[in-house]
Point group: D2
Chain length 139, copies 4
């Protein structure tokens, strides 16, 4: 069971994460170490070629990892990205995007996660991400 709730996440987004808020993310699945986030499509997400701008996909993946970390360790808002690696696999559709993140390894100081991104309704991922979050020492 997740150690953070959907409404705590909504609070953090509204109060402290203006960039994530601009993606208007919806938490569709929230279990310990297993999280899915939906990013509703908007026409201003597009770039030449009709594909969704890469940084928005990276932002969605990064937010998903942040939620995934907190689903396991609770409301540690100061957890922060230390690295991210993304492979863009297929051209996304002009539809909502789903990000499914899972914890690969949760250590005391570093969490390593994997996120797959999908155009809503499609089986094959449009991008694959691995990343690490640093967990600050807690008193």
């Amino acid at each position: 069971m997740s150690r953070i709730t959907k409404s705590e996440i909504a609070e953090i987004v509204a109060e402290a994460l203006p960039f994530a808020a601009s993606l208007d993310p919806k938490i569709v699945r929230l279990k310990a170490g297993d999280v899915t986030v939906r990013m509703p499509f908007r026409p201003d997400f597009i770039r030449p070629g009709g594909t969704i701008a890469g940084p928005l996909m990276m932002g969605l993946a990064d937010f998903t990892m942040y939620v995934c970390v907190m689903s396991l360790i609770g409301r540690v808002e100061l957890a922060v990205t230390t690295s991210l690696n993304i492979n863009f696999l297929r051209k996304p559709a002009q539809r909502d995007m789903l990000a499914h993140g899972t914890m690969l390894k949760l250590g005391k100081r570093l969490a390593v996660m994997e996120v797959s991104l999908y155009s809503a309704g499609d089986k094959e991922p449009v991008a694959h991400v691995t990343g690490t979050y640093s967990i600050p020492p807690r008193g």
Copy 2:
């Protein structure tokens, strides 16, 4: 000498890159394969801990790579990110950010680049990025 001009870049940003436009990027250096972009600081770029949101830094690096590719091959707007890897090194200051991108290898179909991100005025990079862009076949 760059094969694309500052005003062509401004045109593309204004007409086709709403996300990049939201960063309000300024091209401060534009040579063939050697590009520097400045992202002016805004308070809504911040996240918990007072650091600049990672996806904005990734977006700045990605835009810098796009400009870097076009500085060498001209106005090929359909060039698109295939992969990106970022290591966050130091906490950025609440100041403008500079991204310095250089071409590591320009092939016929794939361009590999390196981007270092700095808080304006600081010597040590706040993040280091490598990434690849796919170059579409041209008639």
Copy 3:
């Protein structure tokens, strides 16, 4: 069904891949886009801390990706690594290592794969890899 056989792979390893041969790899699963390779443990694989040397794990993952590509496109020996990203997750045991590789996206010129490495018998991966292979144009 794999487009390359175990004995063709053994041939390539013996004739043209001295480094891979030094790992003494055994193909334990060979399906189209879904491959498992076992690397038998040897005491000279160890480094300080009693863990298996990182480059051997990277070599096992890289070989697994090579086999995975050929399981889908046939005996294209000139397919070559263009990038690899590895996260080391847990300390491996001093036992055989298994590498399970799957195809994330097979394009005309680029194949993107994912490989998870395990100490034989353990459920949790010791490392996670994503990588890309370049597929040469074929007449």
Copy 4:
């Protein structure tokens, strides 16, 4: 000035790093956070296409990072790779390979480095690597 000497490194390689020893590495430059290692060419380093096997290049880069870390923190043999990202840029020549590694950020627990690999005598790198090493807590 490096906090470890060439002969201490040779000792570690001979006693505890059989894989690195198999590359027969020579330290050609050893300054604090700035290291160059040469890997002499051997015919059994080759793979199809006449290029040097990727894992050997990864091994050379990984060893260079290990030396780079110790050049700054001293003989901490238990420092270990946590992640590595490599982009293969150009086909190496059948010659010695040089790896030039520099420290991007040395933290208390994590060191982030960059390594460029060259065929001896050539200006353009054949591969570019970034990686992280974990530094164990010390009493």
